[in-house]
């Protein structure tokens, strides 16, 4: 049985357009893997295939040996796979605190009946969740702003809140879709440290889509490169940086400005 996330020969077609073709790669437990490629290469599509938003036309996506296609997104999250979104999708009317709290729902021991009876066990769980959520927010320096409406946060903080929210689902694999987009260099620097910290502290693996090469090369142990929905290279950052196909398709040749 395979562990971690494994894509086996996955193809996804939208009518005549092939978004992903015969793609195979794996993310093993504890690994930090980067997924890069030009715009439209199919990176976010891989996320959507892995989280149940799309169903592959052919091939299989496995997570810890369980075949994911056919599962609803919330079921896949319960298997231990959580994601952030490229275009931020926070719960706009909720506070910072409640955004994270909402991601704890499927671990609730006490449901709707207990919410009505409000017995001791229910209240204890509510207190426990509060502590847990605040601890999580604290790691990301957001605990002080827990009661603020989430949309009052800066763009970078909203991105970090999305990561906190995904972590609250207690994932074994975290999918980060361009977490550094819109961040300034200082924020990016701290994000790099944070990604490593999250991986070590929460004992999970991370699949990272990102355009910022400094961040990807700095933080990932292995990189998968996509172009037109196909894998053109896979390897450690040093090998990827030297790979002629990657340079041609994405990184650009010497003298040309790198993709930001």
């Amino acid at each position: 049985m395979s562990t971690g996330l494994e894509l086996r020969d996955v193809t996804l077609r939208f009518g005549g357009l092939r978004a992903v073709g015969n793609l195979s790669f794996a993310v093993r437990p504890g690994e930090l893997v980067g997924l890069i490629g030009p715009n439209g290469a199919g990176k976010t599509t891989v996320f959507n295939l892995s989280t149940g938003v799309y169903r592959p036309t052919s091939g299989d996506v496995l997570f810890n040996g369980i075949s994911l296609p056919g599962h609803a997104p919330h079921q896949i999250t319960r298997l231990g796979l959580a994601r952030t979104f490229q275009n931020i999708r926070l719960f706009g009317s909720l506070s910072v605190f409640d955004n994270v709290r909402a991601a704890r729902l499927h671990h609730l021991q006490h449901g709707i009946i207990h919410a009505l009876l409000r017995g001791r066990a229910f209240r204890e769980e509510e207190t426990m969740i509060r502590t847990e959520v605040l601890d999580l927010l604290d790691i990301f320096g957001l605990a002080g702003r827990a009661d603020e409406p989430c949309l009052c946060l800066s763009y970078g903080d909203q991105r970090r809140l999305e990561i906190v929210r995904a972590l609250a689902t207690r994932p074994k694999l975290l999918l980060l879709d361009e977490p550094a987009a819109g961040m300034n260099p200082v924020e990016k620097e701290s994000l790099m440290g944070l990604i490593r910290l999250v991986r070590d502290r929460f004992d999970l693996s991370i699949l990272l889509v990102e355009h910022d090469m400094r961040l990807v090369m700095g933080v990932c142990e292995r990189i998968v490169v996509l172009e037109y929905g196909e894998k053109i290279a896979e390897g450690d950052p040093a090998a990827i940086r030297r790979d002629p196909r990657v340079i041609e398709a994405y990184l650009g040749t010497e003298g040309e400005p790198a993709h930001a």
């Binding site: 999708r89 499927h106 919410a115 009661d147």
Partner: protein, 322 residues
């Protein structure tokens, strides 16, 4: 179990409605009738708010579920009330109360079952489908009831007459308090964040492990249950009900209360239910223009103040931390 503030508030409200009910004979009949209407409208508006406000779906058929509850409970008291009283050993406030409570509960459960049947297929979809389906359901219920035999259990277009006048101040306001307690209690719990998450972003909610379809169905079934309770209270207040009383315009009345009060704001919706019920009394002379005013009010609200008169978090509902 140690009672919490919420428990005490519910208990206090029920006790208060019992005390007022005991002295209700001192209240002018006309004012008492308005008060009871207010209570019933509070139940309707707060329960619809769970669906339209907190969960962000759009139901246009609340009167349909009210009709199911009204007819269901009226049939129970009309057909089974006598035998049940005999079994319980004649009259008395306790036996009569028990029969009425049974009738209300069965009416509410019938409405909840109807809500489940309507909601389960339509809530799997996103967007405006629920509005269309519930609007259709409302009309179907009305037309079906109208076309039953006048001699049958449903009474056809003439409806049902001679229903026991069991509804009093206690029942209306105890159940209104229960409705507010249930909706506010659920929504403010961690479990209840799911309704708001579904409303804000259904895709993100799914990705956070929230079973979005289940949340929508729970909200809809619970909302239908309370609409059924309100229907039962209404039937036993008016003592006659007819299909026309549960038409589309009745549903719109409730939607207006929710939008005016502020979608997702329980306090706002309660106040809107009170204000609009009282306003209706003052505008009796202009009744034919009422729907024009409501329509203009809705358009005006959507443009000028889409968050409602009393938005969420204005007074209550702020995230509290210990």
């Amino acid at each position: 179990m140690k009672p919490t503030g919420a428990h005490l508030a519910l208990f206090g409200a029920v006790l208060a409605s019992l005390l007022v009910s005991l002295g209700a004979s001192h209240i002018n009949d006309y004012y008492l009738d308005i008060l009871l209407n207010i209570g019933i409208n509070v139940i309707l508006a707060v329960s619809l708010n769970l669906v339209n406000g907190h969960t962000g779906q759009f139901s246009l058929g609340h009167a349909g579920f009210m009709a199911v509850g009204a007819y269901g409970s009226a049939i129970v008291t009309l057909q089974l009330g006598g035998p049940m009283l005999r079994v319980l050993g004649g009259g008395g406030w306790f036996a009569e109360g028990l029969v009425f409570l049974t009738a209300l509960t069965l009416g509410g459960l019938a409405a909840a079952a109807a809500g489940w049947l309507v909601g389960l297929p339509s809530l799997r979809l996103r967007g405006d489908y629920l509005a269309i389906v519930t609007l259709g359901f409302n009309e179907i219920i009305r037309v079906v009831l109208q076309n039953t035999s006048p001699d049958g259990a449903f009474g056809g277009a003439l409806g049902l007459k001679g229903i026991d006048s069991s509804t009093n101040f206690f029942w209306v306001f105890a159940l209104a308090a229960l409705c507010v307690y249930v909706v506010a209690g659920i929504v403010n719990s961690t479990y209840g964040r799911g309704f708001l998450a579904v409303r804000d972003d259904e895709i993100a909610a799914g990705s956070m492990g929230i079973n979005t379809v289940r949340y929508k169905v729970v909200a809809f079934v619970l909302g239908s249950f309370f609409a059924g309770l309100a229907g039962g209270l209404y039937a036993h207040l008016r003592t006659t009900i007819s299909p026309e009383g549960f038409n589309f315009l009745k549903s719109v009345d409730v939607v207006v209360m929710v939008i005016l009060g502020g979608m997702g704001s329980t306090l706002g919706v309660v106040i809107a239910a009170i204000v609009l019920t009282v306003l209706n009394e003052f505008l009796r002379d202009f009744e034919q223009y009422r729907m024009i005013v409501f329509a203009l009010l809705l358009v005006g609200m959507m443009i000028l103040r889409p968050q409602g008169l009393i938005p969420v978090g204005k007074f209550f509902g702020k995230a509290k931390r210990s």
